[in-house]
Symmetry: C2
Subunit: 266 residues, 2 copies
Amino acid sequence: MTIAYDGTQYGGWQIQPNAVSIQSLIQNALSLILRNETTITGAGRTDAGVHAEGQRAHFDSVASIDLHKTIRSLNGILPPDIRIVDLQMAPDDFHARYSAASKTYYYHLHLDRTADPFKRHYCLHVLHKVDLSLLREAAQYFIGSHDFSSFANEAHLGAAAKDPVRTLKRLDIVEEKGGVRLEFEADGFLYRMVRNIVGTLLDVCGGRFKAQEIPKILQAKDRRMAGKSAPAHGLFLMHVRYASEEEASITSNEGKLSTLLSSNSF
Amino acid sequence: MTIAYDGTQYGGWQIQPNAVSIQSLIQNALSLILRNETTITGAGRTDAGVHAEGQRAHFDSVASIDLHKTIRSLNGILPPDIRIVDLQMAPDDFHARYSAASKTYYYHLHLDRTADPFKRHYCLHVLHKVDLSLLREAAQYFIGSHDFSSFANEAHLGAAAKDPVRTLKRLDIVEEKGGVRLEFEADGFLYRMVRNIVGTLLDVCGGRFKAQEIPKILQAKDRRMAGKSAPAHGLFLMHVRYASEEEASITSNEGKLSTLLSSNSF
């Protein structure tokens, strides 16, 4: 299942007390349609206010499913800020999270002097000067395999916390009208890792850290050494890559959802 | 004053009972800052759910005003979905509405099969086929000076209703990722005119009318002859042009607000 959502109104992806989660709404709709209590497992647990263009999830069903009809039925039940973009049969051993080869997140910075009402839920508005060459210089220190403990908040997620080494394949700084987006691709991310890296990069631009201090911060393996977490609303889970899809050349609808993020306009 | 706003949460521009209006919020903020009851006059009365990138308004003040400080103060008081983009001194005889040489509205159609959660408040999602060449053919019939009574809802606006002739300078169909936008520029617009033309154009695409029937609909001067009104949320007041600004080469900040509408991305 490929899912796009505007996370503004939700307590995050994961089911939790005292907040409406995206996972629970999809599970409830799916359970209703399949007439069977169904649990879905997402590729990434996005926090409250974080958005997704290409979240992925899997579920098991004993009943056979008409894929197109199920997409339509789900979208008929779900609120308009959550859309099922695609639904495909997966191999029996497929797991939305564990089978993922990489995930891509974007973080958007809006750098105009005046805030833009249409970006308020989708970009961090930064008023201080952001030097793009300094941003790019600092970003390079994060690329590669590192123990990212200094950039991970406590997660209570069990296994992930035991191996805090992740491989950041790229961290590209891409100019877009009114600002920049930071594109992160990694084999996996620790809890809050993208937002903590963005916060630290902004601290470099603001003069709190020097770019050359980043290796020292990584080596400290201490969350308190890095910058504060950037707000949730600039963050988008864009894409989850699966080796099985590339091998099998499964075509996905992901690229078809023309989005605010990559479009020339609406 | 140049104003951008996301109209989703508001009852429209104009002060009205039982709804929060954009005009009232700006007036209240301005009255507070100037310590004087102040009324603002907008260039266009956008309806509930209609957005603006370049709404303009004027007000009179006996006190001298620090323009930049007043922008900052207003934006400090106003909610984040309303932003004052620019503030300038105007000639004594300037009137935001009557001095306007032309106004430009955009209407956005999203044409992908699956709705996009990030466009739900900003584009009309059209599921039926929209033939762009047919849309362009039909659009041509509206260009020029016409009595647009068939495309005007009752307005209770007084003077405007007495002369229902308007000159549509252009109606361009511009492809954008995932859909198209219709760009309307006219010396003025009757109440609901853009939305009623869009609704009729969609009826042409849906087969209810033939493009060649549009002159007959215009000549009827009867609202019941045209198509239904397209929803408010696809409509944006983009720009108000004043001859005085062009003559005096007053530079405006309008173009600086990089927007979802015209940007490559956020």
